[in-house]
Symmetry: C2
Subunit: 405 residues, 2 copies
């Protein structure tokens, strides 16, 4: 049972069994590391223990990481906050102003510096780390999250005696949120990380038990049906708490499924915020080209709200809102937007989720990881690589004078 409800505005065939079979083959060959994370008690324990140590050392954590090493964590922090009262800041793009802003306001003696890069060689992450390392000035306050054996960061960690956590080799960057990459800083933030992994486990179990009838396979089947006909995938959760989850999804969907095979393939993910984007992008969705495939995500039921008192009786724009809650309004907006888009002829998927919680986040994150891989396999695409970014890397290395490139 996943406590999630998925429905579509359109009919479509079930996911081809072959996609599920290929998934299982890859899993059995150990290639899909992310499916083993919900059950990896030792890895979870290592993150929790390291977070406890960091928490005892100070109330701040500075995370240097980018892409797969930042987006999942940002999704967790936005949705679930920092219940421990600690501060966690994620540094992604190299920008001296952003670094100075931290150095001017944080106390390094209260700060753990976490450097997260699976390969151990990510240029943005390492350059930011190199700025912060002398400022921290204490090897006992550094934690490296990286490949267990390979890479310069692993070697440097050994040489300097830093604490480390592993990213399992079969866990790709954009599939790593449930590994120490996301779980270690989330645990430091005081988030119930066991709850996250438990939620993820439920969706995984549903998939392993029900195959093409599972929630993940149904999500993939709907997307597959519209993948070529609707080149833009609007991903619109109806709470700001999940906007960073939409950005996490955007990487997952774009990088996994945007590939030059025999033909160029891909569907552009468009991370949206409901209701805010009703006042920004919905005009285009309603009247612009019919190229949008829409996923609307809403909490069911909406969290309990309150009744507003006030002197608004004589004002028609306000009077009807008295006695209603913000969340009731938000749910009505979700329904209205989905209905209006369906009326216009766009294919709309609705995902009803329980109110945002660690369990819900685990379910969501696992759901879209499995669904993305399934969609890729059904399309005949390798959903795990990203060959298209190599050219840019070579040009950066060249400009920065890195030898051997």
């Amino acid at each position: 049972m996943t406590d999630m409800v998925f429905r579509t505005s359109f009919d479509h065939p079930a996911l081809p069994v072959k996609a599920v079979e290929r998934f299982m083959d890859m899993k059995d060959r150990g290639e899909l590391g992310f499916v083993f994370l919900p059950g990896d008690e030792a890895l979870l324990e290592a993150s929790v223990e390291e977070a406890r140590r960091a928490g005892a050392a100070g109330r701040n954590m500075l995370v240097c990481g980018i892409g797969g090493s930042s987006l999942g964590l940002r999704a967790l922090l936005s949705a679930l906050g920092t219940p421990s009262g600690c501060r966690v800041k994620v540094m992604e793009s190299p920008d001296t102003r952003l670094v100075r802003a931290v150095m001017d306001s944080w106390d390094p003696r209260e700060t753990t510096l976490a450097v997260i890069t699976k390969s151990g060689g990510t240029v943005e992450t390492l350059s930011l780390f190199m700025e912060f390392y002398p400022w921290i000035g204490d090897d006992s306050r550094v934690v490296a999250v990286t490949d267990p054996e390979k890479g310069d960061l692993r070697r440097l960690s050994g040489d300097r005696g830093w604490r480390t956590l592993p990213v399992p080799p079969a866990v790709g960057g954009r599939y790593s949120v449930l590994s120490p990459v996301g779980i270690f800083p989330a645990a430091f933030a005081g988030i119930d990380v066991r709850g996250i992994l438990s939620g993820a486990g439920k969706v995984l179990e549903d998939f392993l038990e029900s195959g093409t009838g599972s929630l993940a396979a149904r999500v993939a089947a709907a997307a597959l049906h519209c993948f070529h006909s609707h080149p833009v995938h609007v991903f619109m959760p109806y709470t700001d708490l999940l906007y960073d989850t939409a950005l996490w999804f955007a990487q997952l969907w774009a990088e996994s499924l945007g590939k030059a095979g025999p033909v160029r393939t891909g569907q552009t993910p468009l991370a949206c915020r409901g209701p805010a984007d009703q006042h920004s992008l919905v005009q285009l969705f309603m009247e612009g080209p019919m190229d949008k495939f829409v996923t609307v995500i809403g909490e069911t039921p909406p969290p309990p709200g309150r009744v507003r008192p006030g002197p608004f009786a004589g004002y028609p724009s306000m009077a009807y809102l008295e006695g209603r809650s913000l969340d009731e309004l938000r749910a009505a907006e979700e329904e209205a937007t989905a209905t209006a888009l369906v009326e216009r002829g766009l294919p709309v998927c609705r995902l009803g989720i329980p109110p945002v919680s660690p369990d819900t986040m685990g379910m969501l994150l696992m759901l879209y990881q499995i669904a993305t891989v399934l969609t890729g396999l059904a399309l005949g695409i390798n959903p795990l690589d990203q060959p298209g970014v190599e050219r840019g890397k070579v040009l950066i290395y060249k400009a920065m004078g890195r030898e051997g490139f």
Copy 2:
């Protein structure tokens, strides 16, 4: 002189003179209110004075506003911060949890409540305002920014004796950032709002003097050339400081140009963050469908950086970065990404801007407002309306029991 440099990777014709002529006609008829804002000294002074009063009353400002009444302000705050040391928080989507988070941590006696809606009837804005109003509990701490005569909010303001600022009737929501909508809270934040309007005035002057040869017309001409052939507009500033500016642009571009005329027309804006999105979306841009029109924005020259010391000599992934600055790296990444995308055959525009400042922000905001209107006029589209969102509004009113809808 605008201090901005624009170039494209592709040849294209100049903007049709007719588009500029239509712009001038509309301006002369008073329909394009935003072009009069840089010269409206009285309106500026009113915002500055109201901000000074609010600042004397307390150090917090809570802004209820959405869409055109929030995105421009968010762009200014992200780019320019809060030099006054005050706190400004923008509340957009109705969500009880977000409201509680403010009420649990802010002191209402230190807070000004700004409610911003041009029509005076925006449901999200008013519902949030209705939550916060009893909490503030002091009519002297409320400032309403709305139409000078029409709407329930204007009437209520009169009845309750609230302070008010006008949104000039000819200034549409998504073209209102340089009116009190953006300028009043920005002034409260301590931002040099005169600098913003001065920058905006430079771009406007350039357009009025140079017509089709102006920066704004050249930006529009490039976009027009690719508008139908490349249905996705990737808008990628190379500093996180401008990500919210990209979201502001997304509304402007989507809502102005996504229209059902004789044919459905529109180009989907995709707000990106360079360098972060190299690790998220660039794989898709490189290998996916050739449907992207790309605008890359970078600061020229990059702000001065620092040299990093550290024990990194023996580690190839790090050694080459010693002696270089984060901003040098960021500029190299911008160049590399643009080059790689051009090599792949995508049309790329490069906009070089001075380092982010009030002057730069004013230039950017005015540039894209003019360019968007020009693009719409050249396409034969009304860039000022948004008829497609009406259906959703009717459904919301119906669900919430508003009579007469």
